[in-house]
């Protein structure tokens, strides 16, 4: 038997062309992406790809919302992989569709393929005569597997790819049109709220449901073990019923959380694995100077601006769920376990939410809505998490500790490099190896177990993402200490461990550069061979007007950070400029990025700007505080983020590489930004901050 040919991206696992595209008789093309919009502008990039390869104008392209009943299963929209997986799949599928259409046109017109040209779906023969895609469209056209034989257009002929096509969704969003799952309104829809326990270890011991039913508008009180929810006619009634429940429900609480310092990780049981080792005795023997340092980050919240929300409807043993989940198929798998129905009894439909930045409460809210909907067959139930639910119950980006040790030779070169990291797993999304990763499921009368937490494997990695340096060191040892038992729920937050590992690597490199008396930019280049890596560092240094070995003046300073995301994604270098007054302020940042072939330059710049600004917020301000029972920040006052007055001006330079595969860039700036900020603070005032967030207290403590 012939093994089928390996196809690009997600086409490999969803091989039929009609899973991806449909040519319609009305002059439109329907695209069925499995990747979803999470505020990153992916759908606009996918439209560009299809328009380019199919040779049709952008406004003919319709996007079908991701839906488990017909969309290709592309797993989860995460890891900046949407272009690499969904984008290249559509690129190939559209190229093949065009090829099939041209073959049919040639037959219809009785001419050879070479005679044909296409413009906006109109096929014209050189000898005269023509036919349109829309006339050629037929059911059987794309009812076949992709062959992988048709080469996509060479970059030199791109007319749509590589241009800053405006995002198609922005005009509706800025004029207040319904755009999010929060805005969904179905006939007969009811409103639900979930009464979450006061802390993760708490169990419900009693609630007088009659008292809750007295609240006007209450249709049902749903209780299953320690899962408690209310369903009402109107939304404000649901909030009143929720508040009533909070007052009268009795819970048994237990202290399950560790001390609120990331260093608790160092004392926890860990699975230790060496992930990279190099040795060179000759180089080692040249070592003349040793350095070591420890870096930490606390738990960080995704803190989406729009708390999670979902709508679900139940009837005849079947469920329909509308959700802003990043993975509708994985969600369906775990929903089937919690609800006790087969997967084909559940349809999951994606509707956009607010920006998510990783695994937030979206999947959990979907499960909540389905559990409530079961109590009111035939009527859709909308569950909106309150702000305090989102802060209290979303899975957080894990706290981490990184210990670095290195040695320099007499020439100022690193001859030995050791990186040890401690962290919880960075992936507890639905559809884990075992158990069910949906919050409500753990509190039912017959609770489901959570899946064993883990990490995505290398090369992408989870807690160990970007722990292996791209720099060339003759001796190195990188060790991952994975703390499996996570007292606070953790999961994927934009860039996973990359934020902390790169922060540690880039900070420590600066410490080494200082010890070697070298300029930070030059010191990096000294240890880098990869020409694309060198190019972004050189580009950002030029753009920012980096001057060699210039010390800050006590209040102002600049620092640089660099990484290649996951060591296989986009290259990003960042220079940050800080000003230290009452607080640390990042005033300006410059970035240079190489994401291979650029599909939409402005979209890419938007993502990198956002990544930098968000990371400045994480790095300067953010920390999920908790006591022994539970998470304490429940609102924006307890968990401040960067404001408009504090956000830096950002200047992004792109290096387009039309002959390299396109790469996502949504997460490329996080690590480099954190490193650049820490290094800028050191440059400004000679103080090294190693524990995020860099608050005023930390500066004062470091100066003391």
């Amino acid at each position: 038997m012939n093994t089928p040919r390996k196809l690009p991206g997600s086409l490999e696992t969803n091989r039929r062309l009609d899973r991806w595209l449909r040519i319609n008789r009305d002059g439109t093309v329907t695209v069925f992406p499995g990747k979803v919009e999470i505020g990153q502008g992916i759908l606009t990039a996918l439209r560009q790809i299809v328009a380019e390869e199919l040779e049709v104008s952008l406004d003919r392209i319709r996007l079908a919302p991701a839906d488990t009943s017909y969309s290709p299963d592309e797993g989860i929209t995460s890891g900046s992989r949407s272009i690499q997986e969904g984008g290249v799949a559509l690129l190939q599928a559209a190229a093949e569709a065009r090829d099939l259409l041209l073959a049919r046109a040639a037959r219809r017109l009785g001419v050879s393929l070479e005679q044909l040209s296409v413009s906006d779906g109109v096929v014209t023969a050189r000898s005269g005569g023509g036919v349109t895609y829309w006339e050629l469209a037929a059911e059987d056209l794309l009812a076949r597997e992709a062959s992988g034989d048709v080469p996509p257009k060479p970059a030199a002929r791109h007319a749509v790819i590589g241009t800053s096509v405006p995002r198609h969704d922005i005009p509706a969003k800025v004029t207040g049109a319904p755009a999010y799952v929060q805005d969904l309104e179905l006939p007969g829809m009811l409103h639900g709220r979930i009464v979450r326990p006061p802390s993760p270890g708490a169990r419900l011991t009693g609630i007088d449901e009659a008292q809750v039913r007295e609240v006007p508008g209450v249709i049902a009180v749903v209780r299953d073990g320690s899962f408690l929810g209310v369903i009402t006619e109107r939304e404000e009634q649901a909030i009143r019923a929720l508040n009533r429940c909070r007052r009268i429900a009795q819970w048994r609480e237990s202290a399950t959380l560790p001390e609120p310092d990331p260093r608790y990780l160092l004392r926890a049981d860990a699975k230790t694995e060496m992930i990279s080792e190099k040795s060179d005795g000759a180089a080692q023997s040249r070592a003349v100077k040793s350095l070591e340092a420890e870096y930490t980050r606390p738990h960080i919240a995704h803190a989406s601006l729009g708390p999670s929300c979902a709508v679900a409807q139940y009837g005849d043993g079947r469920y329909t769920v509308w959700t802003h989940s990043q993975g509708i198929f994985p969600l369906r798998r775990d929903l089937s376990k919690v609800l006790g129905v087969p997967e084909d009894g559940i349809v999951v439909i994606h509707v956009e939410g607010a920006g998510c930045y990783g695994h937030n409460g979206a999947d959990d809210a979907a499960c909540d809505a389905a559990l409530l909907a079961r109590a009111v067959p035939g009527r859709p139930v909308r569950v909106q998490w309150m702000r305090e639910d989102e802060f209290g119950w979303e899975p957080f980006g894990s706290a981490m500790v990184v210990r670095m040790r290195a040695q320099l030779d007499g020439e100022g070169r690193v001859v030995n490099w050791m990186h040890d990291l401690w962290s919880h797993g960075h992936s507890t999304r639905p559809a884990g190896k075992d158990g069910a990763n949906l919050l409500a499921g753990w509190y039912l009368e017959k609770p489901l177990a959570a899946a064993t937490p883990g990490n995505p494997p290398l090369p992408g990695g989870g807690s160990h993402r970007n722990a292996i340096p791209l720099y060339e060191f003759p001796n190195q040892r990188i060790t991952n200490h994975l703390v499996l038992n996570a007292p606070l729920r953790t999961s994927a937050l934009r860039s996973l461990g990359g934020h902390v590992n790169v922060f540690a690597i880039e900070s420590f490199l600066d410490e080494l550069a200082a010890a070697a008396g070298a300029d930070p930019v030059e010191f990096r280049l000294r240890h880098l061979k990869d020409r694309r890596a060198r190019a972004v560092i050189e580009a950002v240094a030029a753009k920012a007007g980096w001057r060699k070995s210039v010390q800050g003046d006590g209040t102002r300073g600049r620092g640089i950070g660099f990484a290649r995301y996951k060591n296989l994604g986009c290259y990003v270098a960042v220079i940050a400029e800080v000003e230290i007054g009452n607080e640390i302020a990042v005033k300006r940042a410059w970035a240079a990025a190489d994401a291979g072939l650029v599909i939409n330059p402005d979209g890419l710049v938007n993502q990198i700007e956002g990544g930098i600004i968000q990371t400045v917020s994480w790095t300067l301000k953010e920390r999920v505080q908790y006591d022994r029972n539970g998470v304490t920040p429940r609102n924006w006052e307890d968990y401040p983020i960067l404001t408009f007055e504090e956000a830096p001006a950002v200047d992004v330079t792109l290096i387009n590489r039309p002959d390299e595969p396109p790469l996502g860039a949504g997460e490329g700036a996080q690590g480099p930004t954190a490193g650049a900020v820490a290094n800028a603070i050191f440059n400004a005032m000679g103080v090294r901050l190693r524990d995020m967030p860099f608050t005023r207290d930390r500066v004062v403590a470091a100066l003391a």
Partner: protein, 163 residues
């Protein structure tokens, strides 16, 4: 506002985007839910319900107000303007046009509230400096990090409107 005999609800008159509406609700219901659920104006977003994020900002008699924090009874009879009252995709307000021109959104969830705050600013200060724009947006959060594009869009709208 008339109290109804049979329950805790009142019937209130709201003037939203120039149109009169009669709604029957409990008087302490936040204006936000009345706009979204009774009047089906979904552009005013729920972000925190605590008056901390600005996603729900509307204008009441021209002043920016967080509608999650305002009982409907306090808005009765006053002129309420929501994002839908500024313009639509076919006929956008200069601010909305500027947001599109600057591609000043990632998820866009913060945009409605920010545009309403900006509208109130430009009404009293048609030529704001960048610092004044940033300061006016003190009560609005954006989690995606779209700040600089948003500030640029507001400056662009100000310029366009004064032409």
């Amino acid at each position: 506002m008339a109290r109804r005999a049979e329950d805790d609800t009142v019937s209130a008159t709201l003037i939203v985007n120039g149109k009169r509406h009669e709604v029957v609700v409990e008087p302490e219901t936040p204006l936000l839910y009345v706009l979204r659920n009774d009047l089906k104006l979904k552009g005013t977003r729920f972000g925190c319900g605590l008056g901390q994020c600005g996603a729900c900002t509307v204008l009441v008699d021209g002043k920016p107000v967080q509608s999650c924090d305002l009982p409907v009874s306090a808005a009765a009879g006053k002129a309420v303007t929501t994002i839908e009252g500024l313009g639509d995709a076919a006929r956008p307000h200069p601010l909305q046009r500027a947001f599109t021109a600057e591609q000043a959104a990632q998820c866009g969830y913060c945009a409605s509230g920010i545009i309403m705050t900006a509208k109130a600013l430009l009404d009293v200060n048609p030529h704001p400096t960048e610092a004044q724009i940033r300061s006016a947006l003190k009560g609005n959060l954006c989690r995606c990090g779209t700040h600089q594009r948003i500030v640029r869009a507001i400056a662009r709208a100000a310029e366009e409107m004064s032409r």
